[in-house]
Amino acid sequence: MSPLKTLLDIPKIFWVNVALIVAFSLISSRYMTILNAINIMQQGAVLLVITAAMTIVILSEGLDLSLGAVMTMAGVVSVLALGAGLPVPVAILAGVLSGTFLGAITGTLIAFCKMSPFIATLGMQGVIFGFTLALTHSKAIFTDNANFILIGSRIGRYVPLAAILCGIIFLSVWATLHHTKFGRYVIAIGGNESGAHLSGINTTFWKWFVYVFAGTVTAMGGIILAARLEVADPIVGVGWEFDAIAATVLGGTSLTTGRGDVSGSFLGVLLIMLLRNGMNVVGTPPIWQPALMGTIIIFAIAFQVSTTMREEAGR
């Protein structure tokens, strides 16, 4: 199945996106420009990565509320490593591995200790956030390492390097879901865990691996974000997991049946970013943006969930 065909399988939210673009460009003449499009890409790129990770977790009938915190931690670890004089590749690797490590702990709690994903990851969110504050003494840590900053910046005016990197990560997650055993087991565990187990799949191990994978991917996003902002901010990731969950559900992934796809989540992220950017461009007062945003997302999810449920009931 090609990514394009899968995209076309989820038409509703796609049309919502189109409608948003049309509406914003009618309201403001400054909206439909290449630069603004690149802006949206650069700003949405990291959310796309976190959402891809979240979608894998949700497809396995899990949930990971600690991803925002993992993202922050990875950025902090990388920037601290740079500050300690380590070379850029090593600093990046350290950040990525911090996500792998945290994911392994979360996965252990859920897969081996059989804790509910909600409780386990809510707890991990607090723990990781606490450690991040301790590591940074709750201060933002700036970096001026040009090579590091490069991965989050744009080359010239028109080549958004961060967006390209995130796009590659996103496509890799998509390929993992569709073209590896692990990806198929994710769908198997989410769709019929006992069936998968009775078919001889080591569901405990693969469930653990879901969180390892999500932590690793999320950490990559966190490092790119730190590079783009040129700072590791200990509170930068607060609330990202909720955007990621919203984007996943908007993209048509079901919270309970192993139904859905990473490619749908792309559209979910796009919707959120279009809203955010559009409200800025047309001059919505910043104090009203969160409330407006939340309201629109709730309506969009209600719309998406009702069609998903109707389709599921129809079989």
Partner: protein
């Protein structure tokens, strides 16, 4: 190369010397509150179809799950090809050549047919990249070798039940299986599909694969089976060649229980009709044209196999599920109710099968549970009147002799029988007059059973009406004034108390009634051909 090509017969030739591919010796297995298997033995020869027969709950599926490594036995051993196979896991059992089609749906809904067939051995190339092409080709080969056609790119959810069954067969054969277990494979197939499946089974037989076949359709198993083993209440009853036994004798072996003196029965003069169901049908739950009635002062039994629609009928009467056609008349008036709440107001009580989940809030106190369906009695002013709650609930605790130190005790701490009494008390408190019991005595001890029977009689004598769903034939026969037998979503017989025997009821329930033609090949039972199921 498909793993189950004709080479399977050749590969099994070294085994031809050993008479059995599978031997089960003295296996026992207990679940909390029930001895599912008690010292059961069983064996299987290569190239035979060995039918496993027994009532619901006889332990058939449990035995199969033990052979397939899904459960570990408490005692006894399994020998495959004469070698002891201890500590089986699903994976190990597969590797030893055990393929199983479980009674429950075991496919992955959002994976395609090829992925489902090869779920645990997906082919890869270049390290970890899946080789979809090979998977689809091998899947097509396997399906072709079974003479079956299913599109390998379709998702499992998109398939018909029959197609899903075919995929399960193909999946069970991918490990070069020499033992194939089919747990009620025909329960949801049409006649034509069953014929197809039988062709497949004959083909597999000819390749030397031993097949364990579980079904409730007696005539069907005469057609396909070689030997039959009967289980009853988790115990081994006997093994026979199918050619040497009659359907009647099989039925006797299955039921073979005496109706004991547990059941009290009183003649009560019948009162007015309180419930009448006319032509009830529902696509969603599979009910078809159900008609029955219930009068004051009687206990009516609802017998049938699991899945025959008994619980669905009860839920429809209680407005827990919608129906498409038909009428429900309660106390002489057509019920216009839409929700269970309307039914409670109509003085109907439903005591569900799974009382822990549907009938009780286990973490609440006994008193709270007793009054949970009639809260307006205890909070007339908008908050719970503790004193009233205590006095009311104490009254019911006394009437029903619920063994609890006080009404404040958490319901979870009570025994199964006493929990069941709490459910009854809850409905008594609402002032109900029509009581529907769904498997009221499942999993409770004899003492509590007796009390519940006594209580049903008490209801009957007090001018209430009781509809009792039960899979235990002695219980149905011992308690009921009349019995309706259900099969495949509809009522197939009404049996009076005088006529009721276990053999008769099970014959109706299993479509083996003697007055019907005994030739299954030409049997045109409309129920089987019903595509709506």
């Amino acid at each position: 190369m498909p793993r189950i090509s004709s080479s399977a017969a050749a590969e099994s030739s070294p085994l031809a010397s050993s008479e059995y591919v599978l031997q089960v010796r003295n296996v026992s297995k207990a679940f909390p509150g029930v001895q599912a298997l008690d010292n059961v033995s069983f064996d299987l020869k290569p190239g035979e179809v060995h039918v496993l027969l027994g009532e619901n709950g006889a332990g058939k599926s449990t035995l199969m799950k033990i052979i397939a490594g899904a459960y570990l036995p408490d005692a006894g051993e399994i020998l495959i090809d004469g070698q002891p196979a201890a500590n089986l896991t699903p994976r190990k059992a597969q590797e030893l050549g055990v393929g199983i089609i479980y009674q429950e749906f075991n496919l992955i809904p959002f994976l395609n047919v090829a992925e489902n067939i090869f779920i645990d051995q997906l082919p890869t190339r270049q390290l970890i990249r899946l080789d979809h092409k090979t998977a689809h080709r091998k899947a097509r080969e396997i399906l072709a070798s079974l003479n079956m056609e299913v599109p390998t790119h379709a998702l499992a959810v998109e398939l018909s039940t029959a197609q899903q069954q075919i995929v399960e067969v193909a999946k069970a054969l991918t490990h070069n299986s020499r033992i194939l277990i089919m747990d009620e494979p025909t329960a949801s197939l049409t006649d034509r599909e069953i014929e197809q499946l039988f062709m497949t089974i004959r083909e597999l037989k000819s390749k030397g694969i031993g097949i364990i076949y579980i079904s409730h359709r007696l005539r069907e198993m005469k057609e396909i089976g070689d030997r039959v083993t009967v289980l009853r209440d988790g115990r081994y009853v006997g093994t026979h060649n199918l050619s040497e036994v009659t359907v009647d004798s099989l039925v006797t072996m299955m039921v073979g229980r005496e109706i004991d003196l547990l059941y009290e029965h009183d003649e009560v003069s019948l009162g007015e009709e309180v419930l009448r169901v006319e032509g009830l049908s529902s696509k969603a739950t599979g009910l078809r044209d159900v008609s029955m009635n219930l009068r004051r002062g009687e206990i009516v039994g609802l017998a049938g196999l699991v899945g025959s629609g008994r619980t669905e009928l009860a839920r429809a009467i209680f407005n827990a599920d919608r129906h498409d056609e038909g009428r429900i008349i309660i106390f002489g008036k057509e019920s216009k109710g839409k929700t269970p709440k309307d039914s409670v107001r109509n003085r109907i009580a439903l005591l569900p099968e799974d009382r822990k989940r549907q009938g009780l809030a286990l973490i609440l106190s006994v008193a709270e549970n007793v009054l949970s369906a009639s809260l307006d009695k205890v909070f007339p002013r908008g908050w719970v009147d503790q004193r009233k709650q205590k006095s009311l609930s104490d009254e019911y605790i006394k009437i029903l002799r619920i063994a609890t130190p006080s009404g404040a005790r958490i319901t979870r701490d009570l025994s199964g029988g006493n929990q069941q009494k709490v459910v009854i008390a809850k409905w008594l408190a609402t002032g109900s007059e029509i009581f529907i019991f769904d498997e009221p005595t499942r999993g409770i001890d004899v003492g509590a059973k007796c009390e519940i029977y006594g209580f049903m009689n008490h209801l009957k004598k007090n001018n209430c009406a009781v509809l009792m769903i039960s899979s235990e034939l002695p219980e149905v026969i011992g308690m009921s004034d009349r019995i309706f037998v259900m099969r495949e979503g509809t009522i197939v017989a009404e049996v009076s108390r005088g006529e009721a025997t276990q053999e008769k009821i099970i014959s109706y329930a299993m479509d083996a009634a003697p007055e019907r033609p005994a030739n299954s090949g030409t049997d045109q039972n409309p129920a089987r051909a019903d595509p709506g199921k």
